[in-house]
Symmetry: C2
Subunit: 415 residues, 2 copies
C-alpha cells in the first residue's frame, strides 16, 4: 500500500468516528485549532520564513510571495475564521424532508457528512486552516495537499491542527497533510476512490483543469470566472459605470471580477465614455472591437482570444452588441458559468437575461463581485462551484454534506 | 470536429431552447412520444426482431435476450411510463430558497436544468424512452448511447422520439442517439466536457467502473448494491425470516436485493433455522462461515470473496457476528453504500445502526427492496445513486436539475 493509500485508509477510519461526533465535540476541536493558531504565531512565522526564503531564492513573483506570506495579523485572521465557523449551525443531522408511505414506512432524508474530502491547493497557507475547519464542522475527515512553496508553513499549521483535534477527543487523522508535494502525490490522491469521497481543487485554472482531467474521485470544480457585465439599451449610465468599475477594479485577481463588457449599440457612445472615464482612474487597459474603437479611439483592438480570457488583471475586453439576445449568445459562447450581470431599466430584458443566461449567479443591476459565501449569507465558503452537479455558486457548510435515507418499518416487505 | 463532438454541440444548442421551454411544451413532447410508441409498435417490433436475431446468432445468454426483447405489452408499458412523467410537477423553476441581504440585494436560488445529459446503457431498449422522458421533463437535452445488442431497436425508438419532440415545437436534437456503438464512441462521450454536463451510466458493475475510471465529465454513479440484512439479538425471528426471504428472493437480479446476511450469535441458532426454512422454498444457496455451518450443517463454506460479491442470483452469504458493532464494521468494510437493514426490537441498536451505517438507505425492520424511486414516492427514477455528491439514493426528476442564484439589485456595488 502506498503512503497516500495509507493516509486514505487512516482518514476513512478517523471519519467513522468523526461522522458520529456531536456538534459540541466538533466545536471544541475548532476552538482548540483557533487557540493553537493564536498561541503559536511565532512557530508558524518561523516556518513561513523558511518558505519565503526558498521562494525568493527560487525567484517567485512578488504576487506569489504575497500570497505565501503570513504575518501576526494574517494568522489572527485565520484563527478568527475558524472561530466564525464554531458559531455556525451544525450542517449534519438536519432532517431535509420526509414522508410516511401508504404501507406505513416512515422515510426521512437526513444530512450526513460527505466523508473523506481531499483539498488540493497552491501557495496560500491560510487555505490549510480554512478548508480543514469547514470540513471538520461538517463531519468530514480532510486530506490537505498544499503547494510545495508553502510546505513548511503547512506542516506547522497542520501539526497544530492535529494536536488540537486530538485534544478534543477526536482522532488526529481527521486532519492530514500530504508532505510529499510532488505531482505524483497529487495524482495518487485523485485516484484514491477507495477512500476519498470528494476532491476539491482550490487554485488557478491550470490546477483545476489538471484535476478535472485526471481525477477519478468525484470533483467539485471551483473557481474559473470569465464574468461579463452587459449594459442594456435602457440602462442607467451612471449606475452602469459604477458597477463596471466595481466589478473590474475592486479586486481584479479574484474569480468574480468582470473580464468582459458588452454594451448595447443604442447606448454605446454615452455608456462607453462614462465607463472609460471611470476605469481611467485605475489605468484599466481596454481592448475593444471595431465599434468600440470607433467610439473610443486609441484603445487596443480585441482579438478572438480576448473574449475567452480570464485576465485576473486590470484589463477589460469590450464589445458592442445589437441586442440583449446577442449579449446572451456571446455569454453562452465565452462565459465560464460563474457570474453574469445585466444593467437595465427594462423589465423584459431583465427577465430574459436571468432566464436564459446559464451561470451560477445572474445579476440584475448589481456587481458580479457579490458572488461570495459571506456576501450571500452562508458565513464562510470553500470556493465557488461552476459545475452543475451537487452545488453551484458559493459552497458553504451545507454543501459539504451528503444525505442518507432512514427508513423505519414494522416488518414491511415488498410485493 | 468528431461526430460525437458535433452531436454534443447540437445538443448544447438544442438545450438552450429546451432549458427555457414551458412545462406545457415539454409535456406535449412527452405525450407525442407516448403516442408515437403506441402507434408504431409494429415498426419497433420489426427493428427489435433484427436485434433478437443477431443476438441469438451471437449466442447471447437467455437472460440477456430477455432484457433485449420487446413485445406489444412492453412497448405499451414504455408509453405508460412516459405518460406518468407528464403528470409529475415540472422540476424546473422551483424557488428553492431566498433572502434579502442587508444591502438590499434580493437573492433567490432557483432550480434549472442540468444541461446536456449523456446516458450510457446496455441491452434494455426501454431505457431509451425512460431516460429520455425524464431528462426532457427536467429540461435537459439527452444523448443516448445504448449497447450494440439493441441498436436497431434504439434507432427506431430514438427516431420516433425525435419526431415527437419536433412536433411539439422543440429541436429534434433534444434527443440524440449515438449510432456508433464502438468503445471509442463511449470513450469520446466520457470526455466531452465542452458540451456534456453530466454522464449517467446505467448497467452492470463493469460498465459503471469503466465510466468512473475514464470519464472527465461529472458522473452520477448508479447501481452496484452489496446489500446486507443484520438480524439483531432482539429481533422478531418470524419478521426477520420474512424480510430476508423478500430481500433475497423477490427479485434477485436487482441492486437492492440482499446479498449478505449477518446474524447476532445469541439468536443465531433459531434465526438461521427459520431463515433457511424460508429460503429452501426457492432453493437459495447459502454460503456460511464456520459458526453458520455449525448450526446449518451441509451449507457451503463462505470464502473471503463472498463478502464483497454482488451475486444478483439465488445465493446468500451468511455470517454470525458478536454484536451490532461487529455488524456495522462488516458493512463498512464490504458494503457498497446502497441499502442496509437491521431487524431488531431494541431501540439503542436501531439508533446506533441508522447513525453509524453509511449508505444511501438504512432500514429498520423493512426489506432493502424498497430502495426505489416509485416506492419512495418520487414517481419515476433514472437509477439509484451510490455516490455522495449531488444525490444519493433513488434519482427522481428533481435530481436531474441544478440550481442558479438570481440576484436582483438596484445598483449595489461591493465595498
Amino acid at each position: 500500500m502506498t503512503d497516500i493509500a495509507q493516509m486514505g485508509k487512516r482518514a476513512a477510519e478517523a471519519e467513522r468516528i468523526l461522522a458520529c461526533a456531536g456538534g459540541h465535540v466538533k466545536n471544541n476541536a475548532l476552538e482548540n485549532i483557533a487557540a493553537a493558531l493564536t498561541e503559536n504565531k511565532a512557530a508558524i512565522l518561523a516556518a513561513n520564513a523558511v518558505d519565503l526564503e526558498s521562494g525568493k531564492a527560487a525567484g517567485l513573483s512578488p504576487s506569489l510571495i504575497d500570497r505565501l506570506a503570513l504575518s501576526e495579523k494574517r494568522i489572527e485572521s485565520m484563527a478568527d475564521g475558524v472561530r466564525q465557523i464554531v458559531l455556525m449551525d451544525d450542517p449534519v443531522g438536519r432532517i431535509l424532508s420526509g414522508s410516511t408511505r401508504p404501507n406505513g414506512l416512515k422515510i426521512q432524508k437526513v444530512s450526513v457528512p460527505l466523508g473523506v474530502i481531499a483539498v488540493i491547493y497552491e501557495a496560500r497557507p491560510n487555505v490549510s486552516s480554512d478548508a480543514a475547519a469547514l470540513c471538520l464542522k461538517a463531519g468530514n475527515a480532510v486530506i490537505l495537499r498544499g503547494g510545495k512553496e508553502a510546505i513548511h508553513s503547512n506542516k506547522a499549521i497542520a501539526g497544530l491542527m492535529r494536536g488540537a483535534v486530538e485534544k478534543a477527543g477526536l482522532p488526529a487523522d481527521c486532519v492530514q497533510l500530504v508532505e510529499d508535494t510532488s505531482r505524483e502525490s497529487a495524482a495518487a490522491l485523485m485516484r484514491l476512490n477507495d477512500y476519498v469521497d470528494v476532491l476539491i481543487p482550490r487554485g488557478g485554472a491550470g490546477l483545476i483543469r489538471a484535476v478535472m482531467e485526471n481525477s477519478t474521485v468525484p470533483v467539485i470544480e471551483t473557481g474559473v470566472g470569465n464574468c461579463h457585465v452587459y449594459i442594456d439599451r435602457s440602462a442607467d449610465i451612471e449606475m452602469a459605470a459604477e458597477i463596471v468599475f466595481n466589478a473590474k477594479t475592486s479586486r481584479p485577481s479574484v474569480c468574480n471580477a468582470c473580464e468582459s463588457l458588452l454594451v448595447h449599440k443604442d447606448i454605446a457612445e454615452a455608456a462607453l465614455k462614462a465607463v472609460k472615464a471611470a476605469l481611467d482612474a485605475k489605468a484599466v487597459e481596454i481592448r475593444g472591437d471595431e465599434a468600440v474603437r470607433a467610439i473610443l479611439p486609441g484603445v487596443k483592438p480585441a482579438v478572438e482570444e480576448d473574449w475567452g480570457t480570464e485576465y485576473l488583471d486590470m484589463i477589460l475586453a469590450v464589445k458592442v452588441v445589437n441586442s440583449v439576445d446577442e449579449a446572451i449568445c456571446h455569454i453562452a459562447k465565452y462565459g465560464s458559468g460563474h457570474s453574469e450581470c445585466i444593467v437595465t431599466g427594462d423589465y423584459a430584458s431583465s427577465q430574459k437575461f436571468v432566464a436564459q443566461v446559464d451561470a451560477a449567479a445572474v445579476y440584475v443591476n448589481a456587481s458580479t463581485r457579490f458572488t461570495d459565501g459571506g456576501e450571500f449569507g452562508f458565513g464562510a465558503e470553500i470556493g465557488i462551484s461552476t459545475q452543475k452537479l451537487h452545488a453551484r455558486g458559493p459552497l458553504g457548510l451545507e454543501h459539504l454534506t451528503s444525505e442518507k435515507y432512514i427508513v423505519l418499518g414494522s416488518g414491511q416487505i415488498r410485493e
